[in-house]
């Protein structure tokens, strides 16, 4: 937020209105359709992202536990990681947090090999933070090419820190419903 403050002040001075008017930090689309949506932490948030993609008419396949070996066969041209841990979700899947992080890392490595762009989303807000979720956040966010976060999940600036001062474009939205706009803009 500290980095953003001068920009916001400048915009206000220029009469540009609210911070919303500054647009998104991702300036040009990076990802190609169809995309593969997977969960990192097995939370139900993946369902919300599927709705956003559906409403935006993005062509996608969803597999909460997609594995590296199966990525090429899906024909996906990009990867969407829905980040946030759920002990219930992991329990239902019968896997540990560590196993899921390793799966995600393997999947990302395979995606890189295939030249796919990776978009990370954290839409669970404050409720999807804490010891369990932070493991997935710190593990997955630095691997992304673009990250969208619902603001209440980034009150402590963890995402800014992980995205490394602009190294990875990061966009913050107030509500899950608002995550649709930057997400769709990320697709060509």
């Amino acid at each position: 937020m500290r980095q953003a403050a001068p920009i916001v002040c400048t915009l206000l001075l220029l009469g540009a209105g609210t911070a919303k008017a500054q647009g998104f930090n991702l300036k040009a689309p990076i990802a190609t359709q169809p995309t593969l949506v997977t969960g990192v932490g097995q939370s139900a948030d993946i369902e919300m992202v599927k709705v956003l993609l559906n409403r935006g008419k993005v062509v996608f396949k969803a597999d909460p536990q997609a594995k590296a070996g199966a990525l090429a066969a899906t024909g996906s041209k990009s990867l969407v990681l829905v980040i946030g841990g759920s002990s219930k979700g992991l329990g239902a899947a019968g896997i540990s947090a560590e196993v899921d992080i390793e799966r995600a890392k393997g999947l990302v490595a395979e995606a890189r090999k295939l030249g796919l762009k990776i978009i990370g989303l954290h839409v669970g807000g404050e409720g999807r933070r804490g010891q369990m979720s932070d493991k997935f956040i710190t593990g997955a966010v630095p691997l992304c090419d673009y990250v969208i976060v619902v603001a209440t999940g980034n009150k402590d600036g963890l995402f800014n820190q992980l995205c490394g001062k602009g190294r990875i474009p990061l966009d913050s939205v107030e509500k899950i419903a608002n995550a649709g706009a930057p997400l769709l803009k990320a697709f060509k």
Binding site: M48, V51, A92, K175
Partner: protein
């Protein structure tokens, strides 16, 4: 104390005690029996037929498990939905939302079925030792309205005694014996099962025979219960539930999403989703009256949800919903359910336009939250 000190013969004392016993019985009986009189519900402008649950399973006809099924048919093609209120009759926002819908909704597309008191037997008594009021009163626009406040499970008058362990028939899952009378552990039910299983079977039969697209079971939970202010959805209903949550979020209503656990059996969102073609969902709102931390339990607690112990619980970080001095009033809990229902119907219409259910006449979340229930009842 010896008898001679009371200067009464043994015979006379027996007579005195028996007279007291009879007097107490006569005094308390009308209160118990009053709970068996059905609440007077207004037939709303959209109601086209009032059926009985026994129409789908004749075995429960004439029993305390038979209950009214209000059908609101637009006469126009579309989908069908079933709203279940009063699965647990001590969760008033659930059945009040169902009542509010049947008294106000006008179907514009598709068919709506409403069972305001899914477990009618549970509404005929209150739990012993809980000190919960038997009824609550609203000064509604149509006049003074009194609504009963019942219990979580089927009355022991209608199903008793409980076994030590309740074995869910189709899965073999074992639960505490008292769950034998819990309708939301009895699905999909059995035609030859216990009384509660037969009520569940009747509801399942309705869903199957009438091809219900969406079933929404309206509940409440104690503020210290982790699944709260949430929609619980069967996996097939996930796109509808998540779409509804986004629709609600746009309106400023925060609702969580909980996948129906595959291993917890007997619940509506699991069994109705597994054993019928319906999309099964369940909604929860926060209700202090059924919570363990509550203090004084009276009508005001039902209506306002104000409870200093819950405010304390929130400060100690023990709750799963925000809780302050404003409490969680009944009208706000009903607003969440009614807003949730409309959001679910909208999401369903987006996913399956040819199976849309469109309703007019239903107050919005904001209207209910600001004006209360009274203008709409």
């Amino acid at each position: 104390m010896e008898l001679n000190r009371l200067h009464l013969s043994n015979r006379n004392l027996n007579l005195v005690l028996l007279a007291i016993l009879v007097t107490v019985c006569v005094y308390v009986t009308p209160g118990y029996l009053a709970m068996r009189r059905p609440d007077a519900l207004r037939q709303g402008p959209g109601v086209t037929r009032i059926a009985h649950l026994s129409d789908w399973f004749a075995d429960i006809k004439g029993t305390a498990g038979d209950t009214d099924v209000y059908i609101l048919d637009s006469g126009k093609p579309g989908g069908s939905a079933l709203i279940l209120g009063g699965t647990h009759a001590n969760e008033p926002a659930g059945y009040m939302a169902a009542i509010l819908m049947l008294e106000n909704a006008v179907p514009l597309q598709g068919r709506l079925y409403i069972i305001p008191h899914a477990n009618a037997s549970a509404l005929t008594y209150t739990d012993p030792m809980e000190g919960v009021p038997r009824e609550f009163t609203l000064q509604a626009s149509s006049g003074k309205r009194v609504f009963r406040h019942g219990s979580r499970a089927t009355s022991p008058m209608h199903q008793w005694p409980d076994p030590d362990i309740y074995v869910h028939a189709s899965s073999g899952q074992q639960l505490s014996g008292s769950e034998t009378r819990n309708l939301n552990r009895a699905y999909p039910g059995r035609a030859d099962g216990n009384f509660t299983e037969r009520i569940a079977y009747a509801i399942t039969s309705l869903i199957r025979k009438d091809g219900i697209d969406l079933t929404i079971d309206l509940h409440e939970a104690a503020p210290e219960y982790p699944v709260i202010n949430a929609i619980v959805a069967h996996e097939r209903a996930m796109p509808t539930a998540s779409g509804a949550i986004l629709n609600l979020e746009i309106e400023g209503v925060v609702m969580g999403l909980e996948p129906s656990p595959a291993t917890l059996r007997g619940l509506s969102h699991r069994e109705l989703g597994d054993s019928t073609a319906t999309l099964a969902l369940l909604m929860e709102s926060p209700n202090a009256t059924q919570g363990r931390l509550r203090g004084r339990t009276d009508e005001a607690l039902i209506l306002t949800g104000k409870d200093s112990q819950y405010v304390r619980g929130q400060k100690l970080g023990r709750l799963f919903v925000p809780y302050d001095e404003k409490g969680w009033p009944l009208h706000l809990r009903v607003a969440r359910h009614v807003g949730g229902l409309q959001a679910i119907f909208t999401a369903h219409a987006m996913n399956a336009p040819e199976r849309s259910i469109v309703l007019g006449g239903v107050p919005t979340y904001d209207e209910l939250a600001t004006k209360g229930l009274e203008p709409f009842l």
